[in-house]
Amino acid sequence: MADSNETLTVRLWRGDATEGDYHTFTVPRRENQTVLDVVTEIQRRHAPDLAYRFACRVGVCGSCAMMVNDTPRWTCRTHVSKVAGDGTLTVGPLRNMPVIRDLVADMTEFFDKWQKAGGRFQGSRTRAEPMAEVDTTSKARRHADASIECINCGVCYAACDVVGWDKDYLGPAALTRAWTLLNDTRHADQRGTLDRAMDQGGCGSCHTQGNCMRACPVGISPTGAIAGIKRMSLLDFLGMRGR
């Protein structure tokens, strides 16, 4: 193995909400190494006070999202061999969110926007009533299915340029959540969710260019969800919104 193949040069962002910059570390290259492995190794051997987030390490929880060579990714699902062809790697906190420390981004606003987009489920039945039946073959259910696996990792939010330049924009994940609710026959506040998702900073701000869709590790298309809400709003205005 050539030298550059045996070690990896990692530029890692260190700092807090007010200042910081990239520090360079050198770590050995290993077989089947993920970017999360690299970050962990740096913390264990070089920078014990390095702050970063992870939990499951196997692509389930979504908490390990970071910018890897300027692209938001789940670090535990990103193999170094895929992204560090030239033996260098740049790792930073998720874009479009304030930094708490090092690789940890503050997701407060990201979650607040879920509420703003009308993402709170509101049922209409009580415990005493029978369970609602959802027709699993219906179109609405299929639409809901397409986005229901979202685990709020924030990768799409970090990938979206509009979020970057318009602080009011609710972003792909929140609007995708609204779309699943709009396709959930049990959700009672359909009007409220549709109005909020179409309000200032909502679907109208999306450029439909699909960065979010390309970045989502789960393969969800927020772009499609947003287009769906726009279509629904148009049909709703014409009194033609079907279920």
């Binding site: 549709l194 179409m198 309000d199 701000s205």
Partner: protein, 112 residues
Amino acid sequence: MSEARLFVLQRLSALVMAPMVLLHLGVILYATRAGLSAEAILARTGSTPLWPVFYTLFVLAVAVHVPIGLRNVLREWTSLGRAGVNAIAIGFGAISLLLGLRAVWAVSGWAS
């Protein structure tokens, strides 16, 4: 007016405009390729109320569609507040409407 209404208006006006733009372009191509003089064109546009009615509708659709788009662009790319952006968009829409209708009036031949 709510964002959702503006969105609907923008889409519906686009729906009206799309075939009109095609017809408009077709007519331009025809008029230039047939080598019609300005007088000949004006004589034709004034010969039937159909053209003024067509272009009045077109101008109305433009005056609805363009300011909404302009407003979105300004909101995204400038730091003008909401009120400022709205004022510019409404102003632009009003000017488009006036100039457009003035042009329709001119080619309708109704003034002469």
